[in-house]
């Protein structure tokens, strides 16, 4: 049996809006094995970032709250642990990097200080050792003049450099799981290539597990082992990266892959998905994708499909696959 390090089961997360509880995540389940890169894809508002925030329980100052489900880190359900225990896990065992390297670093704190903070807290190093470790981390993520950078402020660095610093901070305590939420979205392509290359290298070296959240299917194809596709706060498909791109099952996944222009592919028109993502406070009945789905039947609008293992290790939640395979067309 593969070594499962993080397991999310039927996760539900609610937010409060106008005295109304709105369920944003509704039964999200997936797992990550040791040394695996799992991709979490979907469009804006599908709940992919919220999934990562739920795992880290980063809800301070919002009305967000986990209202159901479990998150197992190794054998421990971290939805049940106290905030104090969570602080020990956060940053040490599960670390996170965010999309905006501009806003996720403290602008009035030197790079060195920001880097040494988790090292001192989680690893209990004294100042001198923490500093050594911090400089080492900066060198490891490919920052030149790492000794000088320690005394500089985030605004003195470029976007790519800032993201390297973020990675250094996240990796400094040698976490078991790294959650990367759109780590390269704000960067130019040539810089994105540098950062992805660095992340892949570090992930291999440490045999770390990674949850890579992105909207960019190109990044998914290049980085991930397995992929989870989300739509409207639900997982609609899960497959290995090869299976997913070769034969996407869910109509949403098919539409998503078809709408991306691909270099070298001579296509006059792109496929597109009509309509738009539903509003979480006003979700359609039945399958949430039905209003935009060209294969939708009356049943789809009435009842929500459940997750099925369509083939070995391929999961999809769609009525098309529930009534036998005769309905499926290539």
């Amino acid at each position: 049996m593969e070594d499962i390090i993080l397991k999310v089961e039927q996760l539900q997360t609610d937010f409060q809006k106008d005295n109304q509880r709105i369920r944003i995540l509704n039964g999200v389940s997936f797992h990550i094995s040791k040394g695996e890169i799992l991709g979490l894809v979907g469009e804006s508002g599908c709940g992919k970032s919220l999934t990562s925030l739920s795992i880290m329980r980063l809800f301070k100052g919002t009305s967000g709250e986990i209202s159901g489900g479990n998150i197992f880190f190794r054998d421990e359900d971290i939805t049940k642990v106290t905030e104090n225990q969570m602080r020990k896990i956060r940053g040490k065992q599960i670390a996170m990097i965010f999309q905006e390297p501009m806003t996720s670093l403290n602008p009035v704190m030197k790079i060195g200080e920001q880097l040494m903070e988790p090292i001192r807290i989680h690893l209990g190093y004294n100042n001198k050792r923490a500093k050594q470790h911090a400089v080492q981390m900066l060198t490891k993520v490919g920052i030149p003049r790492s000794n000088e950078i320690m005394n500089e402020f985030p605004h003195q660095l470029s976007g790519g450099m800032r993201q390297r610093v973020m990675i250094a901070i996240a990796m400094s305590c040698n976490p078991d799981v790294l959650i990367a939420d759109e780590p390269t979205t704000a960067l130019d392509v040539t810089i994105q290539a540098q950062i992805l290359d660095l992340m892949r290298k570090l992930q291999k070296e440490e045999n770390m597990s990674m949850l890579l959240i992105t909207h960019d299917l190109g990044v998914v194809a290049e980085m991930c082992d397995r992929v989870v596709v989300m739509y409207a706060g639900r997982v609609v498909e899960e497959a290995s990266v090869h299976d997913l791109f070769q034969s996407p099952l869910h109509p949403y996944t098919r539409g998503l892959i078809g709408s991306v222009p691909k270099i070298g592919q001579k296509k006059d028109r792109l496929e597109s998905i009509a309509g738009r993502v539903p509003d979480p406070s006003n979700m359609p009945k039945g399958c949430k994708f039905a209003p935009r789905c060209s294969d939708a039947t009356a049943e789809c609008h009435e009842k929500e499909p459940s997750m099925l293992e369509v083939e070995k290790n391929r999961y999809c939640s769609c009525w098309l696959y529930d009534k036998g395979r005769s309905l499926i067309s290539g």
């Binding site: 299917l217 194809a221 791109f245 892959i257 709408s259 270099i263 597109s272």
Partner: protein
């Protein structure tokens, strides 16, 4: 051959940057000597990374900002020195679509009025006439009649971009400058807008100057492409040439950096070293030499000019090819 609708010669724009009140004046050469022609009915794309000057180029062509030097020929007229009053005539022919569909629409105006505004400024049509044209335009860009009475915040990003396109099209312009029109949109919506742009081009024989950082989008929509780096075009050519036979090392690196949504494709990536240099203080010689994998001694001192390499209409500014040209001429 189709006629040229836009021609840009030696276009330059410098912005003054100062360090504090008493600081020394410095210039940021955002656009540094652009030359290109755009043919009627085609899509010409300017691609490059942030800070390469592609947006500045778009704003110069539409004369939203004044050029420092150079010529802009639109439909046979040189407009780079025209005054604001004269420019009204050009604004009818040249319209812009902006990147951020959230910031480029007035939140206090009804969509109907936003789309009608160019008509109010440029024409003396009656109210009824204007309303008729607006209704037509709403349909053209795929919006309902009743949606015209809504405000911008009631629409999604994709719909807002449709509104922006409608506003640009209402004057029946010849040339549309689209500055990153799909980069703020989700992929499924992005493809809707790209398809719409293509349909409209056919229907109204539009010419697009398409500004984007996304090479896959650019390949999909363009006929000709100019690749920009730090204010200059480093490579220019037909789409097929640029994508199948890139010449400039920067174009090659850029192409190989784009992640391809197909896990079966395995390729050697060219990963560039370092960051884009500061445009206030650009490197000497070829501006790309600090990151170029094929850098030679000559690159550090001499800035290469944009020259025709192997085939017609495929130009590159790189010392690597100066030799081949010389050798060829020797053989000839």
């Amino acid at each position: 051959m189709a006629s040229t609708i836009l021609e840009v010669r030696g276009l330059k724009k410098s912005f003054e940057v100062k360090n504090g009140i008493f600081g020394k004046k410095k210039y940021l050469h955002a656009v540094n000597g652009l030359n290109f022609s755009v043919y009627e009915g085609e899509t010409f794309s300017l691609v490059g990374e942030s800070g390469c000057g592609k947006s500045t180029a778009g704003r110069l062509i539409s004369r939203l900002i004044d050029p420092t030097a150079g010529e802009i020929w639109i439909d046979g007229e040189e407009i780079s020195k025209w005054k604001e009053s004269q420019l009204q005539a050009i604004r009818k022919k040249v319209q812009m679509v902006f990147q951020d569909p959230y910031a480029s629409l007035n939140p206090r105006m009804k969509i109907r009025d936003i789309i009608a505004e160019p008509l109010v400024i440029h024409t003396k049509l009656t109210k009824k006439e204007k309303q008729r044209l607006v209704s037509e335009m709403l349909e053209v860009v795929g919006l309902n009649e009743y949606q015209g009475n809504c405000y911008a915040h009631e629409f999604s990003g994709g719909q807002r971009q449709r509104i922006g396109i409608g506003r640009a099209l209402i004057m029946k312009p010849k040339l549309i400058i689209a500055d990153e029109p799909v980069s703020a949109l989700d992929v499924s919506v992005q493809s809707q807008i790209l398809n719409l742009l293509k349909d409209l081009q056919e229907e109204f024989n539009l010419t697009y100057v398409f500004i984007s950082h996304d090479l896959s989008v650019v390949e999909h929509i363009s006929d000709h492409i100019g690749v920009m780096y730090l204010g200059s075009i480093v490579e220019y050519g037909p789409k097929e040439q640029i994508f199948t036979n890139p010449l400039h090392p920067y174009t090659k690196a850029l192409l190989s950096s784009v992640p391809i949504p197909d896990p079966t494709v395995k390729r050697e990536k060219i990963i560039l070293k370092g960051d884009i240099p500061n445009p206030v203080n650009p490197p000497s010689g070829c501006k790309f030499h600090t990151r170029c994998p094929d850098v030679m001694e000559i690159c550090k001192g001499k800035d290469p000019s944009l020259k025709q390499i192997h085939t017609d209409n495929h130009l590159a500014a790189c010392h690597l090819y100066e030799k081949t040209i010389k050798n060829q001429s020797v053989i000839v």
